[in-house]
């Protein structure tokens, strides 16, 4: 009997396909109606920091340099109030084998796949992670398939994704390029079902544990250089893995007082699954189209329980504009001699803005860079934007309108962050949680505890918001 390959048919088999392709039974970790034992899920993977470091060292992943951005710090001080402008450092993650911190995420997944005897690995990703999985698979001698959302109905490819296609193919991977739509996951399930490959999901425990070394190294490097831990670490935020893994690594290094700031490019108004909007976005990751839905409900991922749970770890959540990121990317190249990919510089924009409020003796770390090149570059993105009818101008970045106009700042003093109210994010998370509760089911105390941990709040806060929602609904 042939399998039902329709959208509904494949989605109906998702649990079974995922269990086989991950070799992980998430049911074991369920503790209540909504709650599951997050720490045990991650702990059972069996990777302490030293073990992760050993695995990553074998493929030259990690141990990237921490670079002090002295000229950018000087510029931040030039526009800051007297006495303000902390030392800004960047962790140059572009120096990983495939050019981004994603190598850390891919390394443990591919290591596990090889250890368990899977014939290959597969990942659904249009970004750096695909190249990372392909690179790691090449070294491990495993076959690799990357499924991308790559072009619109007119056949126009997003230049950054086109570059990722090339990179994956350079590492010997098969790349399936799909047109725009939410069915990337559907087709990915078909690939897993056809091949019995390992699901190198961005959201499986291995992928998050692999990032812990980033936070850990960073804390140690800052301590060695300055004698203390950083005051703030700023992370470009999309699906939540970067925030989660980095924060966990910082805590493991003892830097539990460090403020974790998540930064995303504001793409408000552009629909992530819209064919029309696809090539009107100048960023394919690190933007609010991922970070908002994933922060307010992580379990929309390609695994039953997402190991990336950013709201547990972030202390601030800010957005910046596309024009500010391109401006700052240019600044990084011309003031620091580091030509790096734009999406990774989202957190650098936030660092520059936040520096206006912090004293000079403070230390701020921008936690990643990524490689740059054809397609994956401000020029490629802005040339596409212009072709799509988007206006590009110098001016006040507050006038940036995603999909309509990109405003490159006229002066560094115009670089600002927009603060996202974390209380609203928590409420939105709790509303999504309540919507996930089956009808006629009551939440148990263990669920309330879980929701409090998920939202970095208290059980009484959770009860209060849930009561409020019930009253409003009633």
């Amino acid at each position: 009997m042939s399998l039902d390959r329709s959208y509904r048919g494949v989605i109906a088999r998702r649990q079974e396909i995922m269990r086989r392709s991950l070799g992980l039974d998430y049911e074991r970790y369920v503790t209540g109606v909504l709650s599951f034992d997050y720490e045990r899920l991650l702990g059972d993977a069996g990777y302490e920091i030293e073990k992760i470091q050993a695995v990553q060292a074998r493929t030259a992943v990690g141990s990237t340099p921490l670079v002090e951005l002295e000229n950018i710090t000087a510029l931040a001080r030039a526009v800051a109030p007297p006495g303000k402008g902390p030392r800004i450092f960047v962790k140059d993650e572009a120096q990983n084998p495939s050019g981004s911190f994603k190598d850390r995420r891919a390394s443990l997944s591919v290591h596990e796949a090889a250890k368990r005897g899977f014939p290959g690995v597969a990942a659904a990703t249009s970004g750096n992670y695909g190249a990372a999985v392909a690179s790691q698979a090449a070294k491990a001698g495993l076959r690799c398939i990357v499924v991308q959302e790559a072009f619109d109905s007119q056949g126009v490819a997003q230049p950054e994704i086109a570059e990722k296609t090339r990179a994956c193919e350079a590492y010997g991977a098969e790349v399936i390029r799909l047109s725009v739509g939410p069915e990337l996951f559907y087709y990915f399930l078909r690939v897993l079902e056809d091949t019995d490959y390992f699901n190198a999901s961005l959201y499986a425990p291995y992928s998050i544990l692999g990032i812990e070394t980033l936070g850990y190294e960073l804390a140690r490097q800052v301590e060695e250089t300055t004698g203390r831990f950083p005051d703030a670490v700023i992370t470009t935020h999309a699906g939540g893995g970067n925030v989660t893994g980095t924060a966990r690594g910082l805590i493991k290094a003892g830097a539990s007082e460090t403020q974790m700031i998540a930064a995303s490019v504001d793409l408000t108004g552009l629909h992530m699954a819209s064919d029309h909007d696809f090539n009107r976005k100048s960023f394919t990751t690190g933007h609010t189209g991922f970070s908002m839905p994933f922060t307010t409900w992580p379990d929309r991922a390609d695994v039953p329980r997402n190991a990336a749970r950013a709201l547990r770890y972030m202390h601030r959540f800010v957005t910046v504009t596309q024009g500010e990121v391109f401006y700052t990317t240019q600044m990084l190249a011309e003031l620091e001699g580091l030509e790096r990919g734009p999406a990774g510089n989202t957190s650098l924009v936030a660092a520059f803005a936040i520096a206006q409020d912090l004293d000079q003796d403070r230390i701020v770390v921008v936690q990643e860079t990524e490689y740059t090149g054809a397609g994956k570059h401000p020029l490629a993105q802005l040339n596409l934007a212009r072709r799509m009818g988007i206006k590009i101008m110098r001016g006040d970045p507050r006038d940036d309108v995603p999909g309509r106009q990109i405003v490159v700042p006229e002066h560094p003093s115009q670089i600002r962050v927009s603060e996202i109210d974390l209380d609203r994010v928590r409420r939105s998370y709790l509303a999504n949680a309540v919507a996930a509760v089956p009808q006629d089911t009551r939440l148990e105390p263990v669920d309330i505890e879980f929701l409090a941990a998920e939202t970095q709040s208290t059980p009484s806060y959770v009860e209060e918001i849930l009561d409020e929602m019930r009253r409003t609904a009633g």
Binding site: Y7, A78, E174, Q330, M331, A333, G375, L379, M393
Partner: protein, 104 residues
């Protein structure tokens, strides 16, 4: 008759995965109105002309069928022309640092 592309050539195939009516219910309206398409590359199993049904062996060793679209597909992404709105940013910020004596 169109010329056949030889067996063993590196090509790209095109296929419709879901037609406009078969798309995921959560897809936005504009996306619902177009098919889910797929493009993939591999080595041609049997000679075929552009536009004909064909089969390839992909880099992972899978056999997949589709319509023959391109022979030895090129990577065409690049940088494009310099963007004037970005071209002067470096000099502007360097000048600010020179004014403060940070750069000479």
């Amino acid at each position: 008759m169109a010329e056949k592309v030889a067996t063993g050539t590196w090509v790209e195939l095109h296929a419709i995965v879901l037609t406009a009516g078969e798309r995921a219910p959560q897809a936005p309206e504009d996306t619902q109105h177009v098919p889910l398409e797929m493009r993939f590359k591999g080595i041609l199993v049997e000679a075929a002309a552009i536009g004909e049904e064909a089969e390839v062996v992909t880099a992972s060793g899978r056999r997949i069928k589709g319509t023959l679209a391109t022979v030895n597909p090129a990577y065409t992404h690049g940088f494009g022309a310099p963007i004037p709105e970005l071209s002067t940013v470096g000099e502007e910020v360097r000048e600010m640092l020179r004014e403060r004596g940070h750069f000479t």
